[in-house]
Homo-oligomer: 123 residues x 2
């Protein structure tokens, strides 16, 4: 499958854009990118700000985001070493679409919970 | 955790909006909602249009979307029974934000693949 801009198609299982959709749909990725929108952050700041994320999951998600070119990682040779994460210009292009998704989740949670209760009640 | 509109916070592990973020981030959900944006579809039409989705995964994702109030399911008493899926008004509110995510994946796939190659090359 060509990866040309014009031919990319998330509906084709073999198109690499399908994997990208999977990555950016990941809730941890969406939360991390939302935090980095406000500026560079250390690992510990990210961990503190995202309720319930494990050290392992945060490490793995940051590595994936770096590999995909969405964030950059800077290591400062201090004792202990300081490691900071920043959105790349490519990562910044995701802020608006991902922000809209996070906002949707927060704005419509009551409707979703009500629908779930109705569905579960009629089963 | 209150589910009031003002208090919902996707960064809190106990907030139900976190689960909603997980649901709408699911790539299958994003693809299904994108297809229903064009109008009501049968199960078989959805399956044909989404490369690589299994019958089981499509069934499960449609059930989740129905439970969350994003799609409705109509069964017509024909032989064999005809089953159709349609976006609810709540589901329609997701079309724009999810469309932006799908578009991003298709538009930026070349940048992401290039970043991945660079990352893998320096390891």
């Amino acid at each position: 499958m060509e990866t040309s801009k014009l031919l990319a198609n998330v509906y084709a299982s073999t198109c690499p854009s399908r994997q990208v959709l999977d990555l950016i749909g990941d809730k941890w990725a969406a939360l991390i990118i939302g935090l980095l929108e406000d500026g560079t952050k250390r690992f510990s700041e990210l961990q503190r700000s995202i309720g319930g994320i494990s050290q392992k999951m945060l490490t793995q998600t940051l590595r994936n985001l770096e590999r995909d070119g969405l964030i950059s990682r800077m290591i400062y040779p201090e004792v202990p070493p300081r490691v900071e994460y920043t959105l790349t210009p490519l990562g910044e292009t995701l802020c608006v679409p991902l922000g809209a998704i996070r906002d949707w989740a927060e704005e419509h949670i009551n409707d979703v919970v009500a629908a779930q209760r109705g569905y579960d009640g009629r089963e």
